[in-house]
């Protein structure tokens, strides 16, 4: 199906269609088992209550758990039961129930002790929860085969009943002014316990009163539109608020256990029981361990209760394809997926999304092997679309009417999909005024085409095609878009309007020049047609259009900047290449050294020349004073030259000038003395 779309897109599309429907009720499945294993996996032995919830849930679901968990739970239970008076009634209650679920071997003496302690609690208390824990604990002991008898059952029954309110709710104790629905469930469970522990018959009139209370309690039940019923507290801001799941679970535990111990039937409408079952199944996979226990425990009690056993109608598949001639399949099971008694399922009404009603009365055939009722939908002449199917369930055996509740009419939503016929597709360019198409090309929308058109701003682009359902009716998909994509990346999306069967769009470029930002050039054309019930939804490349638009005026809007990939800014930056000065070409070391030697040659020649000239130092002063000055003069010159070398090597100009100042004063002085002496001697020689 849907050749034009990538498979992933089709999957997503289907997921979007199916997701809201799949939250509707389905019986408890393996998904619940794995969810329960996961939820109770860690910290299941945190305290007695959680441990009980874990082992109880696992037992109901039949989950294989490791032996060590059972061992640990049993040890926890027996430790609590055998410890002397420190444990409260609540701990004893949970411990006894753990032991009851797992069948731990507890010494009979320990049970005697526990029983007497619980009975002592019952005698002293006036709190509903204390009653509940101690009666429940005693009941658990009795169910494990230990003999427990409440001798004053009537008075306990009265004490609990005294906490009830006129509207069927209960108070937690005599001092409390608040009445609670959760407490009502607790109280009913406790009363059921008292009845089953009693050695004698409890006053039937009291039982009748409690039955009446239950009916009143069911009068406060809340509901959703789809036939789901649930219990919630009247005041949600109350201190003991537990939430609808816990509250409903408490009531379910209460009325089912009470119904089990009393004779006669409780007068509760079957649809409310079914609504409760739908409520718990509608949770789907629970999010917390507490919700998981409440869901599974309540469903297990509803699965086998004496009031009404709810039968759930569910569809394995909510998407029916006309192409593959899918059959409409319906399963009717109990909440845990067990087979229902023989029954008939009739499809009485089909409600289309366009509020078209097809009334039929077709009985679904029963496939015994797969426990599925099925019906061919082809004779119904159902076209593609979304439908609400109304089923009516009737039990074949009239005796079952008192045991099972089916809720009568059930409504389910399905999507019927099929191949949509696409034909008479045409594309062309028309002159603006004449209206006659110059060039009309036929298109085959079943595959990508590569037409090439050209137009200027005085012309129009026409595109038209027809869609028809498999039954030849009008089909209006959710999405019919024509996309024009300019080569610079600017996109324009147009909705293709449809009337009756014909979809037609005329793009008058004269009016669109502004919108197209005066961008002339090549535009790629893409047509997408998509719908949830259209199996061949497609996205087709039609070809391209060379558009010649006028030059933009000064005030023309600039095309928007194309969205850059947001991840691009995290991409590695362009490497910065630093521009270094390229090192000058240096001569080889040997050449430089050779020329250093060459510069010495003239000096050697100078020295040789001096020797040839017969230079001597005879004129050097012989007297010690002038000789010293002459030496100092030469030393001074040498010092200045040395200072110059230091200046070249490391000193800066200021340091050099400082030293040079001192040296020059000295040099002028000694130089003057040395040279004036020489001058005087030469003058003497002349005059002499």
């Amino acid at each position: 199906m849907a050749w034009g779309l990538p498979p992933l897109a089709v999957l997503l599309l289907l997921a979007v269609i199916v997701a809201p429907l799949s939250s509707a009720v389905r019986p408890v499945s393996d998904a619940h088992r794995s969810a329960a294993t996961e939820l109770f996996a860690d910290g299941s032995l945190g305290d007695l209550e959680t441990t009980y919830e874990a082992v109880s849930t696992f037992k109901i679901l039949g989950v294989q758990k490791d032996e060590s968990l059972d061992g640990k739970a049993c040890k926890l239970a027996s430790d609590t039961l055998s410890s002397s008076s420190s444990s409260s009634a609540k701990d004893l209650f949970h411990a006894a129930r753990i032991s009851g679920v797992l069948g731990c071997s507890i010494d009979a003496g320990v049970y005697d002790d526990v029983a007497s302690r619980l009975k002592a609690v019952i005698k002293d208390t006036n709190s509903l929860l204390e009653f509940y824990y101690s009666v429940g604990g005693l009941l658990s002991l009795k169910e494990q085969g230990h003999s427990v008898v409440l001798s004053d059952a009537d008075s306990i029954f009265h004490a609990i009943k005294a906490l009830s309110q006129s509207d069927g709710r209960w108070r937690y104790d005599t001092n409390s002014a608040e009445s609670s629905t959760f407490a009502a469930g607790i109280a009913l469970e406790a009363l059921a316990g008292v009845v089953s522990l009693s050695d004698a018959e409890v006053d039937p009139s009291m039982i009748g009163v409690v039955k009446n209370d239950i009916v009143k309690l069911f009068g406060t039940i809340k509901s959703y539109d789809d036939g789901t019923f649930y219990f919630d507290e009247k005041n949600v801001d109350a201190t003991e608020y537990k939430g609808p799941i816990t509250t409903s679970a408490s009531v379910v535990r209460g009325f089912t256990s009470f119904a089990n111990v009393v004779s006669g039937k409780l007068n509760i409408p079957g649809e409310k029981i079914l609504g409760l079952a739908k409520f718990f199944l509608g949770i789907g996979l629970p999010g917390s361990a507490k919700d998981c226990f409440n869901q599974i425990k309540s469903l297990s009690l509803l699965e086998n209760n004496r009031v009404f056993v709810p039968l759930i109608l569910s569809l394995p598949s909510k998407v029916l394809s006309l192409t593959s001639k899918d059959q409409l399949k319906v399963e009717v099971t109990t909440v845990f997926g067990s087979a229902a008694p023989p029954l008939r399922v009739n499809l009485v009404q089909v409600l289309g999304s366009d509020s078209k009603v097809i009334t039929t009365d077709k009985e679904l055939q029963f496939d015994v092997d797969n426990n599925v009722h099925y019906l061919d939908i082809a004779p119904l002449k159902i076209d593609v679309g979304k439908y609400s199917l109304v089923f009516e369930i009737s039990l074949q055996d009239p005796e079952h009417e008192t045991v099972y509740t089916t809720g009568g009419r059930n409504t389910e939503t399905v999507v019927v999909t099929g191949q949509i016929k696409v034909d008479k597709a045409e594309i062309g360019i028309a002159e603006n005024d004449a209206g006659t198409s110059e060039s009309v090309e036929k298109l085959d929308l079943l595959k990508d085409t590569k037409i090439s058109l050209s137009a200027n701003h005085l012309q129009k682009l026409r595109l038209s095609f027809q869609l028809a359902t498999p039954l030849g009716h009008t089909f209006k998909p959710h999405q019919v878009f024509l996309k024009l994509k300019h080569e610079s990346g600017v996109e324009h999306l147009f909705v293709v309007p449809g009337s009756a069967r014909q979809f037609k769009i005329v793009l008058d470029f004269l009016g669109l020049v502004e919108k197209f930002y005066y961008l002339s050039g090549r535009y790629d054309l893409e047509l997408s047609v998509g719908d949830a019930s259209m199996e061949n939804s497609f996205l087709r490349a039609l070809g391209h259009l060379e558009l010649d638009l006028p030059e933009p005026s000064e005030k023309a809007p600039r095309p928007p900047a194309q969205a850059v990939d947001p991840l691009a800014k995290f991409a590695p930056q362009k490497e910065i290449s630093h521009i270094f000065r390229v090192p000058e070409k240096r001569p080889p070391k040997e050449v430089s050294l050779a020329f250093t030697g060459l510069t010495l040659l003239p000096f050697i020649g100078f020295l040789i020349g001096l020797m040839r000239l017969g230079v001597n130092l005879k004129n050097f002063p012989s007297l010690p004073g002038p000789a010293a000055f002459a030496s100092l003069f030469h030393a001074g010159i040498g010092a200045v030259l040395l200072l110059y070398v230091l200046f070249w090597v490391k000193l800066d100009l200021f340091t050099t000038l400082k030293y040079l100042g001192f040296l020059s004063v000295f040099l002028v002085f000694v130089g003057h003395r040395a040279l004036s002496y020489l001058s005087s001697t030469s003058t003497k020689q002349k005059t002499a």
Binding site: S592, P602, G609, L675
Partner: protein, 136 residues
């Protein structure tokens, strides 16, 4: 070439040169010219010869550096300039010294050679301070 600055080079010597002009070969002329020049230069005082030698030495050193630059290139140019100008500068100063020391130059008659030498030393020191600064 510095010798031509020598004011001592007399005009009277020209008569001696004209005597050789009659000779047919130019080579012989050149030979005679050089011989007469050498003879005339031999009469130069020794201290002036020392200065001439110094000038030759400085110019030759400068030439070596110029040749080096011609072979390997002018980088680093400031160092090349420093080296060459150091030589040329000191050669010019030596020429100045020679002019002042020469006894035949009447305008410097009152100037003692020691004073001239002191000027030469001072100018050289200043010149080389600048050269060192420029050498880099």
């Amino acid at each position: 070439m510095l010798i031509f600055f020598h004011s001592q080079f007399p005009i009277s010597k020209r008569s001696e040169g004209s005597r050789f002009a009659k000779m047919p070969k130019a080579a012989a002329d050149a030979k005679l010219l050089i011989q007469s020049l050498t003879k005339a230069y031999a009469a130069t005082p020794t201290n002036l010869k020392i200065i001439d030698l110094y000038v030759l030495f400085a110019v030759a050193t400068a030439l070596v550096q110029v040749v080096y630059m011609g072979i390997v290139g002018s980088f680093p140019f400031n160092s090349f300039l420093s080296g060459v100008l150091s030589c040329i500068g000191t050669a010019v100063l030596a020429v100045c010294l020679r002019i002042q020391v020469n006894k035949d130059n009447k305008e410097f008659k009152d100037l003692p050679p020691e004073r001239a030498f002191a000027d030469f030393v001072l100018c050289n020191l200043v010149l080389h301070l600048v050269i060192m600064n420029f050498l880099g």
